[in-house]
């Protein structure tokens, strides 16, 4: 492992170092602003580093290519936004706020590892780093009962899913004797259950369980609403974006490695999972009255959509997946940003009552939230529209008609609950005078985040060309 390898690992190193630095800083003196500032600086540096770090295969475990850098940049940017959201949120709630950033950085590091991993070992390590940090993050507000419950649920379920994953990897290893993606993918495609021990396919399914759990795909999705609801809003945003994004980047890479001739049986399993996720996610959210749960269910459905892209895995499919993920990050961060902003000191703003008539009280905030929801539903002028378009295009290109048909139908079901929320916000109070409330103070960072995300939302929705060019540049090496 030479110097070149180390340099290619720069983004990972920066984030790892930042977490250590923040930890040390806390040891020296507790200061929320300082920890926050250091975190921002580290993340910003990490993002910058992705632009000029030379791509390289750094050891057998990590493939630091442009693809990885793109997703790392995306994850770090998301973390940056989440850090910005968290600052005001924590300041109002928790006495010991500084460790939050350490956990955030470590979790990000885990997710970033996933985007670069080309080996099952790094996959397992990445997931573990991510998970363990997440337990802490979810239950960070430990003197409240909901975060604690969410943390325990996540702990138990994520722990057992890790066990599934590890056992699956072990079975694959027992069968093939190798653990790097390229070889495994190629062997899975070429063997028609003719492997020596017949453990390959079950092992792969077990691995899928682990991956599916992280992505909250049906039927491994049940933790999602409870964790989303219980976790502090910024952490919910993290679970929804960074943790899933890293995993998805890995999935996309894995499938693109196996090329066109993939095992039909595995494809079948994936299709079942995708369809189940789309259906379950959208149906579960239909009449739910908790915003965070609705977002959780909707994220299940969105992961189902994304799985379509993964399954197609043509060049178009990978591009669509990447674009969709970016759009999804923007809108889910935006939506949870609004939730964060509206949350009071006692509890998060996740009930319908918190949003009733929001448009008449805080028009700008309501419109931003509406834009995010409509983007989730895939309505034009927003990034979500083009993302869905791209996704359906990828599916149509590969003649995955059933999948995209289910996608279309379920996303229409999905529109129903987004519109329910929108309808609640635009519900006109009968008698009250309509005096628009000003935006609350103490939240400049959140406002900046929301405005920026809205700008991205519209930008990607109307002039997606730059982003598309970037994505094509990033995935160029894979094919």
């Amino acid at each position: 492992m030479g110097c070149v390898h180390v340099i290619s690992l720069l983004p990972l190193l920066i984030i790892a170092a930042t977490s250590v630095v923040v930890l040390l800083a806390i040891a020296v003196r507790r200061n929320h602003a300082a920890a926050f500032g250091l975190t921002l600086a580290g993340l910003a540096a990490g993002i910058c580093s992705t632009f000029f770090t030379p791509p390289n295969q750094a050891t057998q475990l990590l493939l630091m290519d442009r693809y990885a850098f793109f997703f790392m940049g995306l994850l770090m940017a998301a973390s940056l936004f989440i850090a910005l959201l968290s600052y005001g949120y924590l300041a109002a709630r928790e006495a010991r706020r500084e460790e939050f950033y350490v956990l955030l950085l470590v979790a990000t590091l885990g997710a970033m590892t996933l985007t670069a991993s080309s080996h099952f070992t790094s996959l397992f390590l990445g997931i573990e780093i991510l998970s363990v940090a997440l337990y802490g993050l979810i239950a960070y507000l430990r003197d409240r009962s909901l975060p604690l419950e969410a943390g325990i649920k996540y702990l138990v379920l994520a722990g057992s899913s890790s066990a599934f994953l590890a056992f699956g990897i072990a079975l694959v290893y027992a069968d093939l004797g190798v653990l790097d993606f390229a070889t495994v993918a190629q062997r899975i495609s070429s063997t028609q259950s003719g492997s020596a021990l017949g453990l390959l396919i079950p092992g792969t399914v077990l691995i899928l369980v682990g991956v599916g759990f992280k992505l909250a795909l049906a039927p491994f999705h049940m933790w999602t609403p409870d964790v989303y609801e219980g976790a502090p809003a910024p952490v919910t945003a993290f679970v929804a974006t960074v943790s899933k994004g890293g995993m998805f980047a890995l999935l996309l890479r894995y499938f693109s490695l196996s090329g066109a001739d993939r095992s039909p049986r595995l494809l079948l399993v994936l299709s079942i999972i995708a369809i189940a996720s789309m259906l379950a996610g959208n149906l579960l959210a239909l009449f739910s009255t908790n915003i965070k749960r609705i977002l959780a269910y909707s994220s299940i459905a969105h992961m189902g959509y994304l799985l379509v892209a993964a399954e197609v895995s043509s060049r178009l499919g990978v591009g669509a997946g990447a674009f969709y993920l970016v759009a999804y990050f923007v809108m889910i961060l935006g939506a949870l940003g609004v939730v964060t902003l509206l949350s009071s000191g006692e509890r998060d703003a996740d009930r319908f009552e918190d949003y009733r008539g929001l448009f008449w009280r805080r028009p700008v905030l309501a419109l931003i939230f509406t834009a995010m929801l409509l983007s989730l539903a895939g309505i034009p002028l927003t990034a979500g529209f083009l993302a869905k378009f791209y996704l359906v295009a990828a599916g149509a290109d590969s003649h995955a008609w059933l999948l995209i048909f289910v996608l279309v139908v379920t996303s229409t079901i999905g529109l129903f609950y987004y519109l329910r929320v929108v309808g609640v916000m635009f519900h006109q109070p009968a008698s009250e005078r309509l005096v628009p409330e000003p935006l609350p103070r103490r939240t400049p960072a959140v406002s900046v985040v929301l405005v920026a995300l809205s700008a991205f939302l519209i930008w990607f929705g109307v002039f997606p060309s730059p982003l598309l060019r970037l994505i094509q540049f990033a995935i160029g090496k894979i094919f």
């Binding site: 034009p380 295009a393 149509a396 995209i404 279309v408 529109l415 519109l419 006109q428 598309l468």
Partner: protein, 491 residues
Amino acid sequence: MILGWLIVILIAGGLIAWPLARLHPLLSRLIALSAVTLDLALALVLATRDFGPGSTAGGGWREELDWSWIPQFGIHFHLGMDGLSFLLVLLTLFLGVVAVVVSWTEIATAVGFYHFNLLLILAGILGVLLSLDLFLFYFSWELMLVPMYFLISVWGRERRTHAAVKFFLFTQLSGLLMLIALLALYFAHHQATGIYTFEYQDLLGTPLDPHRAMWIMLGFLAAFAVKLPAFPFHTWLPDACAEASAASNLVLASLMAATAAYAMIRFLLPLFPEAVHTISPLMIVLAVIGILYSAILAFSQTNLMRLVAYASIGHLGFVLLGIFAGNSLALRGTVMTVIAHGVSIGALFLVAGAVEKRVQSREIDTMGGLWDTIPCLSGVGLFFALAALGLPGLGDFIGEFLILIGTYQAHIAAAAVAALGVLAATFYALRFVQYAFQGTNIHSWHLPDLAAHEGFVLGVLIAVLLWLGLYPQPVLQTLAQAASHAPALWR
């Protein structure tokens, strides 16, 4: 370039009108009105420049604008106008002005946001009518939905949320089916030629095997049939109309239907001639059933807006019939009907809205004897009811007559049964007049008659209908110019 301005002015007008309402609602209204009026003026400039008596009779796009938009997918911001699109653009802007004027007194809350939405819808409609790039078309098609959703759900009546959601779900699902079809066509074209493009002219000649062509056509048809709306996909319209304000209904029933009919003529028929021919018997049957069905249901409604909505569906049944009759007379009649239906049904919504404003109800049972107290409004209502029942001399008649006489050339039975629909229209139109305006004034109402701006708007609409009914030749002449793009259709 002027086409770009048409759209930009509307969007800019909406964006300016929105915040200005904070200062004073009147400012917002004025900005919106001037934006739409300016657009209408521009369109009239086009009328004299490109479609006037001096212009040559040749074909081709009279105005065109082509910018690269998303080169990665071969998507262009490509607008073009011929006689067909011009007519409907004119209709859109004309009714747009009407809608703004009518909203002057009707809309009192969130005035800025209202006008933003209204102008955005108009921009979306223009986008649909002008795009020559199928992606841009789809984009504009979907773009209309959100502002329309807001128009219903914010400024509607009691059950507005339900109605708005229903509208949105129907149109969204059908739109997504069209998206699949559109992409299938896109890739089929790529397969055949190796070029990725959404360009209308390029896709026109895409070779498709019949089976695939049928499926792709069905995808497009789903979107158009729902938006039109055609029987049996119509049920969102009455619900939406029952809740939305009069101006929204004008946009919803008159203009959205116009876009759907336009899309069928512009895209469905030329892109998939064989598939359309195969399915046309079914569609003709649906159209005829729809005509009769909606007439009967209109007859039984007690909500004024709902009644008019079913009347609208009946007229749109004729539109569907004309499109699938496979006859150029019928096709010309279709365009006439779209225009005349836009004016007459739109006006009926306005009349219903004006009545509602006065008696504070949409239920026909609570009215009666209004002629005693508001004779002018009642007379105007009578006039538009007559237009709706297809009285000769008014615009609707010309369209329906051409459709029926064209249909007769190919499908005698369909034309005969559909002609019964004209008779059935008499039932509900006269019932509307009877229950709303005639009878005894049991409530002893003393209501204000038409205000100046209402009278002016409705008067202009009456004049337009008479003009369309007695001298429709300019319209048909302009339409003839569109023939060059799909000569087989118009021959």
